[in-house]
Symmetry: C2
Subunit: 486 residues, 2 copies
């Protein structure tokens, strides 16, 4: 049987085989490659032909059948149908639609998302920011989810305050922050978000007017700069050194800061500077947004108190998230708010979400925390990541110590490393590394102005062998570059 489908193209577009097959068959029918009346291969034949399961072929055929693309004749097989579905028309592009000024600011790349899959073509990727799932307590999580399914259906539980999210989870977070962070948090001052980025973006919208300045660390997380730009705000980059952000008397009323572990450098903000920032906020009647994105995993030393714990005047918003402590797809973040911001934030969130989404996961997480599973998981992962952190440092210093100078750090899931050589060599090396099967994050993406070249290495998702292989590849790539020069 002569049978060719555009499978390669659709396999790249769709990560599920049955979807790739469905779209490939549909395209072949539209294009006339499979004209009306063509007898299609049996599920067994097609499965063998494209190396997919028979179940995938069944699903694809079932979808095409539902759409009217194919028909079955009892006992004699499956045929391309005569009734061309409405969809057979040429796709219409239509008129270009004009966007609002806000819409037009949303250019730039979609940062915060992975652009590559770590397993693609055997690439060793230090760019993946998600946690390791090796020790994830799946049975306990499944049990918490199962218990929450029934509760979630109970619509009578939806009440006015529900844009802020599930009250039990907010209580559990408050208890966790009181115990582990020294933050005198109350559930009623906590609002849940779909990841910390939603908190950052909505707070910016709520606090920053068109043309007003906001102070950002340089370098900083790109999501924050996009949030500031989207509001028409003016970003004021503040330098960062080994003790974190360098305080000044900025003429601004909004500051974003990562005191626990500066992103991406990993610097811990010194106590003196913490006090200075709070004094600045009091003087300027300003709000500080403290993004504690990555400090649950501390391998050594005692954590410093967050700004929020020292915040006597209620000027600090503390933002946290579970995407790094649980798993990447769990988009639950939260903010501890000054009392006067609680109602405005709930109103802002309710404009988009009168009732909080992902109640099922919120209720399951509340149960998981209440049962002590979360605290147990954190303790276990802290040891596990601590070990990985040590391996990575040791392996890097041994095999790639001449390339990068690792910044000291005693927490978190990535290490910041300054390039020891020339800037142009860094560019050369980075591109050659990708060709050589290893990639890492370039911190130029986080900088406001070109600075000294540096890289971020995430290690949490890799095992010792993978780290070793990745570092070996970097060393090899560098050797090749050097040898070519000779």
């Amino acid at each position: 049987m002569d049978f060719i489908l555009p499978m390669e193209k659709h396999s790249k577009l769709y990560r599920y085989k049955y979807l790739a097959l469905y779209h490939a068959l549909r395209e072949a029918i539209h294009e006339g490659t499979l004209p009306e009346g063509t007898r299609l291969p049996s599920t067994r034949e097609l499965a063998a032909l494209y190396g997919v399961s028979r179940g995938s072929v069944y699903q694809a055929y079932d979808m095409l059948h539902g759409d009217g693309y194919i028909r079955s004749a009892a006992g004699s097989g499956t045929y391309v149908s005569g009734a061309a579905p409405q969809l057979a028309e040429e796709p219409r592009r239509g008129a270009e639609i004009e966007l609002s000024a806000w819409g037009r600011t949303l250019t730039g790349p979609l940062s915060g998302m992975k652009k590559t899959r770590p397993d693609m073509g055997g690439m060793i990727s230090f760019t993946d920011t998600g946690p390791s799932l090796d020790l994830f307590p799946l049975a306990e999580w499944k049990s918490a989810i199962a218990a929450a399914v029934r509760e979630e259906l109970d619509a009578s539980a939806l009440m006015l305050e529900d844009a802020a999210g599930d009250i039990e989870l907010r209580e559990a977070i408050a208890a966790h922050l009181r115990r582990s962070r020294g933050i005198a948090a109350d559930a009623e001052h906590i609002c849940l978000f779909n990841g910390s980025m939603q908190a950052l973006a909505l707070l910016t919208q709520l606090l920053l007017g068109q043309g007003e300045p906001a102070v950002l660390e340089n370098p900083c997380y790109t999501g924050i700069s996009r949030a500031v730009a989207a509001c028409g705000g003016i970003a004021v980059p503040a330098p960062v050194d080994g003790e974190g952000i360098v305080p000044r008397d900025w003429d601004a009323r909004l500051l974003f800061v990562t005191p626990g572990r500066q992103f991406p450098t990993g610097a811990v903000l010194s106590p003196a500077r913490r006090r200075e920032l709070l004094a600045w906020a009091a003087r300027r009647n300003a709000v500080i947004i403290e993004d504690d994105y990555d400090s649950e995993f501390r391998f050594a030393g005692r954590p410093l108190e967050p700004l929020k714990a020292l915040d006597r005047e209620e000027r600090v918003v503390y933002v946290g998230s579970f995407s790094k402590t649980m798993f990447a797809a769990l988009r639950i973040g939260y903010a501890v708010l000054p009392p006067s911001l609680v109602q405005p934030v709930i109103r802002a969130k309710a404009l988009y979400e009168p009732v909080s989404p992902a109640r099922l996961e919120q209720r399951a997480l509340a149960r998981f925390m209440r049962r002590g599973e979360y605290a147990r998981h954190l303790r276990r992962m802290r040891r596990y990541y601590g070990e990985k952190h040590e391996w990575f440092r040791a392996l890097m210093q041994k095999h790639a110590g001449e390339l990068f100078e690792l910044q000291p750090s005693d927490a978190g899931l990535h290490i910041y490393a300054r390039w020891r050589g020339l800037a142009e060599d860094y560019e050369l090396f980075r591109e050659a590394a990708i060709a050589g099967g290893v990639q890492f994050r370039d911190t130029a993406d986080y900088q406001w102005a070109p600075g000294a070249p540096a890289a971020c290495f995430s290690f949490a998702h890799l095992d010792q062998e993978q780290m070793k292989e990745g570092i070996r590849r970097m060393a090899d790539v560098w050797k090749v570059i050097l040898s070519r020069r000779k």
Copy 2:
């Protein structure tokens, strides 16, 4: 034992007994009602005292213990601790924080949420907008959730396009719309949202500039008017009659419309007017946002094609949701977008959510739809609601026919009813009805200018006896009003 807790106050604030108890005990300790060293009742005693389960007392004690409010002495009971936790300080209100212009527009009530609980004090409530759960296929839903839990953890599945939501669910929605709505939808043009309100708010932000006009139906869903106000847009209210919105040559480039079943009147937009709206959009280079919020449940007649199915120039955005067809807490909505809007919408959504939240429910729903469970559930509920719809009409006409004139309708989960009497009597009646144990939605909330009094009666969540009782109460209330006049 002399033991009084402020339980009544906290029972109103917290819907879970252990939380009410925890906060009541905490307050009593702060207030000095329970001074240091006080021996607390045993779990058994306290459970009996406040009519809660021993498990709730355990949980409350456990939380207080974790916070340091109480201590246990082996064999001798539980005591109020001496170490006053940091939280014992007076709550600090701090400085009033100034909001951005955007933040200041977010006044008005938080509509879209229930302000009352339907079961509170035996109230019969026709205000509840959620679906009935009587026939919800819980076992099938649980099975779909269980299957999705493992998949969700697979972080490697998170890719660039994931702000738009799970691709399998988008495919399942596209197939559903092709079959049941005649919309030539493709998964790549569908973006998932956390309920339809997020779609409406983000699209408004993306399309409507400061000071620009947007056409809204009068009356219309309050969420839309809030979205327009938040963008600084100017709402142009368009009159609605028995055939839906009355088309005009509005000088605007954005129109919100509910053609399938006008909200709240229930009018179905005539075919001629559908064509007029599309012609207007072509002439004005405008975008039409079609909110198909409530048309899955059609009891009689054939549905008309949505505007989107007739949209040859790609000017229509079709918005739908699962909150009414599945259950109220499932906040999954979607929009079918013109191709040129796909990237801008994904960028707008990614500003808040680089990765879509509620992946677990998205993947479970995809599975539920693919297995045919969703179509089966819709068919079953269509018959069930059709019956309820008939009961309600018959009961209302029989017992409260002199009060309200029910609008004709053959779909949806609520009935719009014009008040037959004087406007001042309507106000009197509405307040007396609440006192008499029955409530309904006042459509004045949806109007731009005071119009003839009318009410919305949601019936989906009530059984025949509850409807009868609610209608009887209304009739009784009216009798009392009339008798007092004599």
